[in-house]
Symmetry: C2
Subunit: 127 residues, 2 copies
DNA sequence: GTAACTGCAAAATATTTGCATCCTT
DNA sequence: AAGGATGCAAATATTTTGCAGTTAC
């Protein structure tokens, strides 16, 4: 259960930086494209997985099955249950974290650990 | 915009039947396994896509990116916005449509067309 | 007969794994 | 030097596409 200690590398810092500079949730591909130097895509995935385990980022799975990552700091939630709305635009494909939260009800007999609230439509920029 | 007329085939009926007989949302693989005769997986996907366009089924994308289909009749919604909760169990992997609905707020400037509300945890059977 | 449906093989997409190498601590 | 981080190639998994053959109406 003890987490291994992570190291301070340029590539991890770059991933964190592009995520902090971008206002929408990014796919691994988006992140790779936004980084000035070349980082192998396997590395991107491994960095994101590590970040997710540590609670630095969370991700929503889009309707298409692709994962979109966002810094947890950006949405002001530090715990696993991100009960804010994620909006996926059918036009520009952008996935954004919305300020609106939904109250997740108690499901009798179920243990709730995570939430992915995705709303799909046309965003304010494309409308 | 005019929808082409669909035909009455055994395989489409079988897919509809297993979906109606199963109380959880099924992946294409699940459906294939539940059907007594052999249906090609491409055919399953095409049937599901057609059903979705007609509004016969809806699907949720699980955390892993897999699509899980359920008959819209089962959840009592005929329109596109399925604002009921889908629960994905980390243990048994089952995805179920829950009776609880969440009120989706108006997002100023956004046009809402669909919703996928996914909650992840341990279901009542596995707990 | 025509258009919808199906099957098979192959392609496309997204993510993971194995293994060798490199680099932080 | 030990073990975390990275790169490359290959594997996995899910879904889609092209095309030829079949079937419902």
């Amino acid at each position: 259960m003890e987490s291994k200690k992570s190291r301070n590398t340029e590539k991890q810092n770059l991933v964190k930086r592009v995520l902090s500079e971008t206002k929408y949730a990014m796919s691994a591909e988006d992140i790779m494209a936004a980084i000035p130097i070349k980082i192998n895509k396997t590395t991107i995935y491994r960095i994101l997985n590590r970040f997710e385990e540590k609670g630095t980022v969370h991700f929503v799975t889009g309707k298409n099955g692709k994962a979109y990552y966002a810094l947890c700091d950006n949405c002001g939630t530090s715990h696993k249950i991100h009960n804010h709305i994620h909006f996926e635009c059918k036009e520009c494909k952008e996935v954004t974290c919305q300020p609106n939260t939904l109250q997740i009800p108690n499901l009798e007999g179920f243990m709730i650990q995570e939430a992915q609230l995705l709303i799909i439509g046309i965003c304010n920029k494309c409308k």
